[in-house]
Homo-oligomer: 422 residues x 2
């Protein structure tokens, strides 16, 4: 773990990270696995100082009057710290990626072709209050053979330093260079801006956080960026929907964990079932304490508790017990609404009509599309990737939940016996 004074030379940090990336890329799988296991062990051994540091951040956050949701993201406790350590163990146990041979074939003339999976190099991750990102990102980058440069939010500065010390201990235990996980020792935006200019040293930047941060990164980046943008997720209750199923999935998507990006923000109800479904939805969500904001049709069918929706509601990522509901004429109107207002995250159709489901799955361009399932499954762990670095809403390279494999690329391998081109 490299740390310098308050005004760091980002180019020098990045140069050290690049040198470390070569070492990590060439290290045997066994060395990287050992480092990950040592990181998990260090997190458990250093529980007291980590939680102490976290309390420092929490006190400062309360004094500064941070929003309760932000404070909740910042908070660590025994259970959360153990979950972070266990995630590192899980990443260590995932199959090895670096050097994996794919698509091997032999041409008629005997020339052997294949692709080899290789690390991307140096990955910069810029994030906000969640201290778990420090460990998740370091572990996933290491698994994929990369070095990383981490720049967390000022709210979590003490927590990140303490977690970073555990990561550094793990790297040292496996003999890997400290710069393999470099923490930027400054929390001002100038440091991000400087980092984003280093196109000769940084292969990828992943911003994770609110809209403001992501726009800032997109605006200033000379290095490639994969955006992990907001989730304005839609549930479309089709005319041929099983309404009990639709209600259960609406509840799961909105209520089970409203503060996450794969929660439902808008429900589109087909006009064919609106009369039957909207009153039931209004009653259920009323009982659950969910505020419903509806268009004219929804307000007429759902009763006086429904708030009038404005255009802003179609674009809103509430991350709270609020939902926008709109009646749409048909499948085409539902797809058009999602195209206009969606954020390329996750959308689900509830229908018993396979042709409608197929059209929805094919024509909706979001990174995860579902049929008769809760949007809450849009998650690397649930979709078989293991831990995730986030959910990409950029189409290039990785689209949707992004795990360790998303932090690699492939090169072409050609083996001949003196082959020349005619």
């Amino acid at each position: 773990m490299t740390a310098t004074a308050a005004s760091p030379d980002l180019r020098e940090l990045a140069r050290q990270a690049r040198a470390a990336a070569r070492v990590v890329a060439r290290a045997p799988a066994e060395t990287r696995r050992k480092a990950l296991e040592a990181i998990a062990a260090a997190l458990r051994a250093r529980k007291a100082p980590i939680l102490d540091a976290n309390r420092t951040d929490l006190v400062a956050a309360e004094q500064r009057g941070l929003a309760p949701a932000m404070i909740d993201r910042l908070r660590l406790d025994d259970r959360r710290l153990e979950a972070i350590a266990r995630a590192v163990d899980d990443i260590a146990a995932q199959p090895e990626l670096v050097g994996r041979i794919e698509r091997a074939e032999t041409r008629a003339d005997g020339l052997e072709l294949a692709r080899m999976r290789i690390p991307l190099g140096v990955i910069a991750i810029v994030y906000e209050a969640r201290p778990n990102v420090t460990v998740d990102a370091a572990a996933l980058c290491l698994k994929a053979g990369n070095a990383c440069i981490l720049r967390g939010g000022s709210e979590a500065f003490a927590s990140n330093q303490a977690l970073g010390a555990a990561v550094a201990a793990g790297l040292a235990a496996a003999g890997l260079p400290p710069a393999a996980v470099t923490m930027v020792p400054s929390t001002d935006r100038d440091a991000i801006r400087a980092l984003l200019q280093l196109e000769d040293l940084v292969d990828l930047c992943i911003p994770r956080g609110g809209e403001g941060l992501i726009r800032f990164v997109a605006e200033h980046a000379r290095v490639p960026v994969i955006k992990h943008y907001k989730g304005v997720c839609h549930l479309y209750v089709h005319a041929a929907a099983d309404l009990d199923m639709a209600l259960a999935i609406a509840e799961n998507g909105k209520v089970q964990r409203p503060g996450v990006c794969n929660a439902i923000e808008t429900i589109l109800v087909d006009r064919g079932v609106a009369g039957a479904f909207v009153p039931r939805l209004a009653a259920r969500f009323g009982a659950l304490g969910v505020e419903v904001r509806g268009d004219e049709d929804v307000r007429r069918l759902g009763g006086p508790a429904i708030v009038a929706a404005t255009e802003d509601d179609w674009a809103a990522e509430y991350l709270a017990l609020v939902v926008a509901v709109r009646v749409v004429d048909d499948l085409d109107a539902a797809i058009a609404h999602i195209e206009r207002w969606g954020s390329d995250h996750t959308e689900s159709i509830i229908t018993a009509d396979p042709a409608a489901a197929d059209r929805f799955l094919r024509e909706v361009g979001s990174s995860t599309v579902m049929h008769n399932a809760s949007t809450r499954f849009a998650d690397g762990g649930e979709l078989g990737l293991g831990a995730e670095i986030g959910i990409s809403t950029t189409r290039l390279h990785a689209y949707g939940p992004m795990g360790a494999e998303g932090l690699t690329t492939t090169k072409f391998i050609v083996r001949g016996t003196g082959h020349v081109r005619a």
Copy 2:
């Protein structure tokens, strides 16, 4: 084919391209195949006006005193035009990509997971003198279900307009919107700069051309860029090399087609075989008219015809009958030289030692690495991709030769029977 006045509204062109991209993405494979076949037919039917337009460009190029290599790239004739049309036929015959289901699996709870291959959207391609890029790029983008915005060089303006008219005729024959292949009707750099700002409308920019163009695009782009940068390709003649094989591959890589990016630019000779190999190389290349620029060792071993190499030679992409030759101490020194001076394109080791070959293939990070084979095989057609849009030296998304599949991405498809998350 959309064309407006000299000062085009790039945002409006891109908006039309985006609308067309939706139509192309949803069009049946059959429609896109029909369009490609109609484009190939239109190229053949319009041979006379295309070659007339090309002659206009050639006359202007000669008057402006363009370099012979540039004029050669610009030139079309019966044979080259037929090759362009045949490439479109080949692309039409490639397996369909859009909607392809990959990595399907079913979880223990019955939730079905898969990925579906989908187009990227709108792809901007910025290129220079080669008019064939107009047709290759349009055909590959169409195959992958994308719309494209093409901005060719001023030298090929008339040729590109004529080729574009053939593309437009093919789109019309299949009922696809003309904006699916949009030609920017301006050749000044302001038009490129404006295009590169449209991050809400353009999903990817691929610059193809000289270093100046690529730097310009990288500097001004807000949209994602995949660079197709220069090829400073290396041949490393290892201590355990078969020297006859090494000589044959050196000749093939340097002489067969010196003006292309996968030609050899630097030969690294292991000290263990330098005494035996350098004199033979110098004699052979002398007879072939190849200028050799060598370090001290090479000059001592190769005779007086060898020019003294400077540092600039290690970085040079000659694209001509010139080669830099250097003696290196061992495999590590060869890898270090390539790391320092290479351009992430293609490198080949000649050796009978499998352990040395494995280390080279694993540790050299270039997009194509070879053993006992000519660098000239680094080509989409040769490596089984079919036609290529170019050779990416960007690690993100596509690294190395990039075909139609490189112009797609995947989304996650989830099918349940009412699944909710616990």
